[in-house]
């Protein structure tokens, strides 16, 4: 009985730990959300989150919240948005795993990446 309770206690703790990691780690799409849309906000001349991890098949949508236009351009020319004015959006569906570095071609100091698993 005592052993069972102890195992249950450990199991619950471990479960709680995993749950908290999934909740607190930024930019991780929940398992099973393969076709869900994940948001990246463009604010104050930066992409948030700067590093986003998604499962293959996920669509990422960027929204520009700044008063100036920005673009979303992949370093390797895999995707490229037109100029996004305030509140404009751009979406791209990541089908292949890999690391996709991207930047704003208008303000090239703005860099970020999407990691596709």
């Amino acid at each position: 009985m005592k052993k069972a309770r102890w195992i249950l206690g450990v199991a619950l703790t471990v479960l709680a730990a995993f749950a908290s990691i999934a909740v607190t780690q930024p930019g991780v799409a929940k398992a099973g959300d393969q076709s869900a849309s994940v948001e990246v906000k463009i604010d104050n001349f930066s992409f948030g989150p700067a590093s986003l991890t998604v499962a293959a098949g996920t669509t990422v949508t960027w929204t520009n919240n700044d008063d100036v236009p920005h673009t979303v351009v992949s370093d390797d020319k895999v995707f490229k948005s037109k100029a996004l004015d305030t509140d404009d959006k751009f979406s791209y569906t990541f089908t292949k795993p890999g690391t996709y570095n991207y930047f704003c071609s208008v303000h090239p100091k703005m860099t970020a990446k999407v990691l596709v698993r």
């Binding site: 104050n44 001349f45 008063d67 100036v68 236009p69 037109k82 930047f103 208008v106 090239p108 100091k109």
Partner: protein, 318 residues
């Protein structure tokens, strides 16, 4: 009545302390002239009284910048109105400028109607000719094709050009194309090669004026306020006795003197931006309505033959 600032003449003969002090007044309209390495300053109102004097020279021209036609957010809901005020200010100068330089970001979103409104507004500017270089906001969707077609008369490549006026050599450079991830402004090898050839035949005594959108010196790299390969461009001008660099992009006046090179950035006619590091990002800065016009303005440049440098005067809309 002229006032002499306390001097601090170093080996190269430039009075830096005096110059920096003078620049603090520039926003309210001060004429700073370097004559034989010594700085003299005159309040703008004194200049008006003198009219002819030491500083009315052989050539005067105006720089305006960052009109951002199409912008309509809180920082300035009517940028066309403030552009028109800037034009009125140019038209009210005691000496009409021989020409005007627009150092880029004519529009906010590179849209046809924005270029239309800009062209229409500038029709009332009393000057013979306007020369333009593009800002990053002018080349958003078509690699600058529309900009060059409408505002790049006589320009080559991505829109660079040079011309001579009253014995001064002017060079318009483009540093907003093909920007690399994590980088700053960029001139590129083709343009640099052209620049080297362009100035090679000039006498070292020829005053040279470079104008480009993004600053050609490292004002604040964290915000992209600089050009990756500007050092190379400036190396072609080391032998010249007087080089003036006029830029825009940062929406505030800033000046630096380095040997024979004077760097100057202009106010925007549309909206101000924060000073380096004074905000999270270099975006449009909202200020109280009655302060806005004190942070927008034009730049008047005078050249007096025989003097070391061009006299640069910034004046605000209010």
């Amino acid at each position: 009545m002229s006032r002499f600032i306390k001097e601090n003449v170093e080996k190269d003969g430039i009075d830096r302390r005096g110059f920096l002090k003078c620049m603090a007044w520039a926003g309210t309209g001060t004429l700073c002239v370097i004559q034989g390495g010594v700085l003299k300053s005159f309040a703008l109102s004194d200049v008006m009284q003198h009219n002819v004097g030491d500083f009315k020279g052989d050539l005067s021209f105006v720089q305006i910048s960052d009109s951002h036609i199409g912008f309509n957010k809180a920082a300035n809901p009517d940028v066309t109105a403030t552009l028109r005020e800037a034009i009125a200010k140019v038209n009210a100068l005691p000496t009409p400028p021989s020409f005007v330089l627009h150092t880029g970001d004519l529009t906010h979103l590179s849209k046809t109607e924005e270029f239309d409104t800009l062209a229409e507004s500038l029709k009332s500017l009393k000057t013979e000719r306007i020369f333009y270089v593009p800002g990053e906001h002018d080349v958003l969707n078509d690699n600058g094709e529309m900009f060059r077609e409408r505002f790049g008369k006589g320009a080559m490549g991505d829109g660079w050009q040079s011309f001579d006026h009253n014995g001064i050599h002017f060079v318009g450079l483009v540093n907003v194309m093909n920007l690399k991830a994590g980088g700053l402004g960029s001139l590129g090898s083709e343009q640099l090669e052209w620049l080297e050839k362009d100035v090679s035949a000039l006498k070292s005594s020829t005053p040279v004026v470079l104008f480009a959108h993004i600053p050609l010196w490292a004002v604040y790299p964290q915000w992209g306020w600089g050009t990756d390969d500007s050092e190379q461009a400036l190396s072609y001008l080391k032998r010249f006795g007087s080089v003036t660099v006029l830029n825009g992009h940062i929406h505030q006046t800033m000046q630096k003197v380095e040997g024979n090179v004077t760097f100057h950035t202009a106010c925007s006619t549309a909206f101000p931006q924060p000073q380096p590091g004074q905000a999270d990002s270099p975006g449009p800065m909202k200020v109280p309505d009655d302060k806005l016009r004190q942070l927008l303005g034009i730049t008047d440049v005078n050249f007096v033959r025989g003097t070391h440098s061009l006299a640069i005067v910034d004046s605000t809309l209010a």
